[in-house]
């Protein structure tokens, strides 16, 4: 079993968020969701806010990443994320409030609204809630 493992690293500006061996890692890119097994072709891709699932030998771990990019090299996957959080680090109430705020801003459509930014905020808030369910 052990020969289908590869190294996974998630690095944020503040810390090395995760470092370990996994048999599969799934995450969300701007082009859609992607799952990586060992000996994937070399790939650099841009992350979209989403849930990262790391399937280790015996258990699977979930985390949330927002913005960044991933580098896949045969036996190593590196995720450079601007923000990464474990589910237990997320404040559900805060995420809900952020969701409301973002929805409100999007529904009002005021002239100076930065739509992409508001949508991104909404997406982040939703992803944060998703991982807790």
């Amino acid at each position: 079993m052990a020969d289908n493992l590869f190294t996974v690293e998630i690095i944020t500006p503040d810390r090395i968020f995760y470092h370990g061996e996994a048999s599969m890692v799934e995450f969300n890119t701007v082009e859609g969701e992607i799952g990586i097994l060992k000996d994937h072709i070399p790939l650099t891709t841009v992350l979209a806010p989403g849930i990262v699932t790391i399937s280790e030998e015996n258990e699977s771990k979930k985390a949330v990443v927002h913005a960044g990019f991933a580098e896949v090299l045969g036996d190593k996957v590196t995720l450079l994320a601007e923000i990464a959080e474990w589910p237990d680090e997320i404040d559900l109430d805060r995420a809900k409030r952020a969701e409301e705020r973002a929805r409100e801003r999007l529904s009002k459509r005021s002239a100076d609204l930065d739509v992409t930014r508001a949508e991104l905020a909404l997406k982040k808030a939703l992803v944060r809630q998703d991982v807790l369910v």
């Binding site: 500006p13 090395i16 890119t29 082009e31 790939l43 841009v46 960044g68 580098e71 090299l73 601007e82």
Partner: protein
């Protein structure tokens, strides 16, 4: 020779100064430890970022991208990172000297100051200032770096500035800090690094190289700014620690010098008194 009282007063004032410098040294030592840890934790992120950008550029040789090409505008933005507080030896003035001594002329430069000390010094010399980010340096976060990079990149995209530089103090180790001027845009990476990373693997990009560049270069710039902020904080505290250390030992030296002078003055005043008493006694008898 100064009177005993004067010497004594001087000594007291110096030893109270010494107490202050000693306390400041202790404070900056603690802060340095914290800042150093943060700088070390930021390093892996930055290194990966640099490697990835190198390997992308190795493949992106023929791509015509605004981030990679010379721009027409003569204006050069400089993000200057200094401290808000003084008493850090040559820390602030070294960064200022780096900018005034560079090839960037006064008229072309637009400064984005982080830290009041450098801002004040360059304002006196007549440099143009853009928005001020001085509050950031007390506790830099990634969001702060994001705000700065967003603003300069917007100005770059709008053609207001043609080049972006970053002036900060590189933290080599606790005792050695190096003022550094780094060109952020158009991107320039070490040719050797580019060649080295491209040799063996063929990297695929998703979305295509151009779009990926569009998204990754701003992140690269932000991570550079963040790294510079964190290193600058470490350097600032290192510089202050050194400055306060030498101030404390200078005070020590002065105090021992003054003690010697004081004792000499005391001795000569006693000798003089004795001579006067003996002379008086002789005159009576």
């Amino acid at each position: 020779m100064a009177s005993m009282r004067d010497i004594k007063r001087r000594k007291t004032s110096i030893s109270s100064t010494q107490q202050i410098t000693k306390a400041m040294k202790l404070v900056s030592t603690v802060k340095l430890q914290k800042a150093k840890n943060r700088a070390e934790q930021t390093n892996p992120y930055f290194n990966y970022m640099y490697q990835t950008v190198c390997s992308m550029l190795a493949k992106a040789g023929e791509i015509q991208h605004p981030y990679l090409m010379e721009s027409e505008s003569e204006k050069k933005a400089i993000i200057m990172i200094t401290s808000n507080r003084g008493l850090a030896g040559g820390y602030n003035s070294n960064v200022v000297k780096l900018i005034t001594g560079s090839d960037i002329s006064l008229d072309d430069a637009v400064i984005y100051p982080v830290g009041h000390k450098g801002e004040e010094a360059l304002l006196r010399k007549g440099y143009t200032m853009a928005s001020d980010y001085s509050d950031v340096i007390d506790a830099p976060t990634y969001e702060d770096a994001l705000a700065i990079s967003r603003e300069v990149l917007d100005a770059y995209a709008a053609g207001e500035i043609g080049e972006i530089y970053l002036a900060y103090t590189h933290f080599k180790n606790t005792v050695s800090h190096e003022p550094t001027l780094l060109k952020l845009l158009p991107v320039e990476v070490d040719e050797e690094d580019v060649a080295g990373s491209s040799s063996d693997i063929l990297m695929n990009f998703e979305p295509n190289e151009e779009e990926a560049l569009d998204l990754i270069i701003p992140k690269y710039i932000t991570s550079l700014i963040y790294g510079a902020l964190v290193e600058a904080v470490a350097s600032e505290n290192g510089a202050r620690m050194q400055a306060m250390d030498s101030a404390t030992s200078n005070a020590e030296e002065m105090i021992s010098d003054l003690s010697l002078k004081y004792n000499r003055a005391r001795q000569s005043s006693i000798t003089q008194e004795l001579t006067e008493i003996i002379a008086g006694a002789e005159a009576i008898s």
